[in-house]
């Protein structure tokens, strides 16, 4: 029997005041004019709750760019959905925060780009770091569950101890140290973002020590990035198995990056019910279950745990979305990952000085 989707990621807008070099949004962004209306989002939440969704993750772009955010939180809360706001914090005034909290927000995830202001602003392409520091105390005071998220990569992962200290000063319930995943804009910038092996494993050691020290106070979540792991991540908990993502214009996707896979048609909530899209649509069935799997996945004991890894990554690197995720050490195409890593690990200094090679980087643009 097909399970219900547990989590619905609502990318309510692609507008964002930041231009992060690793943004996971697609390169082709949805224009503000095509965004779903308030009523359309409400209908989506209602349908989601009916088919078993528990969590709504309000994301973007920057969800605060939508003026109706409070109303969307309130509506989702009214459907007994767990509401999570994933935000840069830019645009969160005290008054607005009070309104969102009163509307029933369950959790907020506030992102930081670095522990150091200059580096953070450089990555974000905006003077955002000080603003974020300014609103964190307001969030903490409200009592709403609070996660600090810091995205790490070759340019900043060496500051991981500073990042943990920063998080401690902000007193969140949880700190997520997330390695960049190479989709969207991050894929364009992979040569400058992929960390060295030494960086990854040294930082994991420091994180491990902090996890022990802060046990019971701040929970620190961090995993070895998939390029350096032996086996792939269980991307989205399996294709069309646990989660779905709705883009700003209502297109329903099995994951953030799915539109990179050619030949798949993704249905829109404007044309179909969420239940039909989840259960019946071709795109959700395409890589659901095990029938699509090639060897070595098909006979692998791990197939029920990692589901063959990420379909988008498989396509981006091998050209075939139905191949084993090449980050898997058992994948026929794993050599491509090894080549990439040996290139990265042969760079004498892991840092590519930002100032020297500005043209090297591609900043996330704005939807038009």
């Amino acid at each position: 029997m097909l399970d219900a989707p547990l989590a619905l990621i609502a990318e309510i807008t692609h507008r964002c005041p930041l231009h992060c070099l690793y943004c996971s949004n697609p390169l082709q962004m949805v224009s503000p004019a095509s965004e779903l209306t308030t009523q359309e989002w409400e209908k989506v939440f209602e349908q989601g709750a009916k088919i078993g969704v528990l969590h709504v993750h309000l994301s973007g772009g920057e969800p605060l760019a939508r003026e109706d955010l409070t109303r969307l939180v309130s509506f989702a809360h009214g459907c007994d959905l767990y509401t999570n706001l994933i935000t840069s914090g830019i645009g969160l005034s005290e008054r607005r925060w009070d309104e969102v909290v009163a509307a029933g927000l369950d959790h907020i995830q506030l992102s930081f780009q670095d522990s150091r202001e200059a580096g953070a602003n450089w990555i974000a392409g905006a003077r955002a770091h000080a603003l974020k520091l300014g609103i964190a105390p307001m969030i903490r005071r409200s009592g709403v569950a609070f996660t600090v998220n810091i995205v790490v990569h070759r340019q900043n992962v060496d500051h991981v101890e500073e990042m943990i200290a920063l998080a401690e000063s902000l007193q969140p319930d949880r700190l997520e140290i997330a390695h960049v995943q190479y989709y969207g804009w991050a894929w364009k910038n992979i040569e400058g973002l992929l960390p060295s092996r030494t960086q990854v494993f040294e930082s994991m050691e420091k994180i491990g020590a902090a996890q022990k020290r802060l046990l019971g106070t701040i929970r620190i979540d961090a995993v070895v990035p998939d390029y350096y792991a032996r086996f792939p991540k269980a991307c989205m908990g399996g294709w069309g198995r646990r989660q779905l993502l709705i883009d700003p214009c209502g297109k329903v996707l099995p994951c953030h990056a799915a539109t990179v896979i050619p030949g798949l048609q993704f249905e829109n909530v404007r044309g179909h019910s969420l239940e039909w899209i989840w259960r019946e649509s071709e795109s959700f069935q395409k890589f659901r279950g095990e029938d699509w799997m090639p060897e070595p996945c098909r006979s692998c004991d791990r197939r029920t745990g990692d589901f063959g890894g990420c379909r988008c990554q498989a396509f981006m690197i091998t050209g075939d979305a139905a191949s084993t995720d090449p980050v898997c050490s058992l994948a026929p195409a794993h050599g491509l990952i090894e080549q990439q890593l040996s290139r990265v690990n042969s760079i004498a200094s892991p840092h590519k000085p930002a100032t020297e090679q500005e043209e090297f980087w591609v900043y996330r643009s704005q939807p038009k």
Binding site: H55, N84, D173
Partner: protein, 90 residues
């Protein structure tokens, strides 16, 4: 701080009950927990009002066929584990 008899355990910020009957679960930022009998019986009593001592007494009354020492040990281990995951505070 270790769990004491006078502690008043409660769901941590961002964790709450959702759903009805068999589908009743604790939801938290990254997921949800569906709990089996005793675990659910413990957590449902973690309302920030009852002390740990009261919770254990209620469990002993409900599960009178079980060894009270084991009930207490299991409850301590369970709540410590949930606290480390930041699902419970006390």
């Amino acid at each position: 701080m270790p769990l004491e008899n006078t502690s008043r355990p409660r769901l941590a910020a961002g964790c709450r009950w959702a759903g009805e009957g068999e589908n009743r679960m604790v939801v938290f930022p990254e997921g949800a927990l569906r709990l089996q009998d005793t675990a659910r019986a413990v957590l449902e009593r973690c309302d920030g009002h009852r002390t740990f001592e009261q919770i254990v007494q209620e469990l002993e009354a409900t599960y009178s066929a079980s060894d009270p020492v084991k009930i207490r040990q299991d409850a301590v281990a369970f709540l410590e584990r949930l606290r480390q995951k930041r699902l419970v505070d006390f």
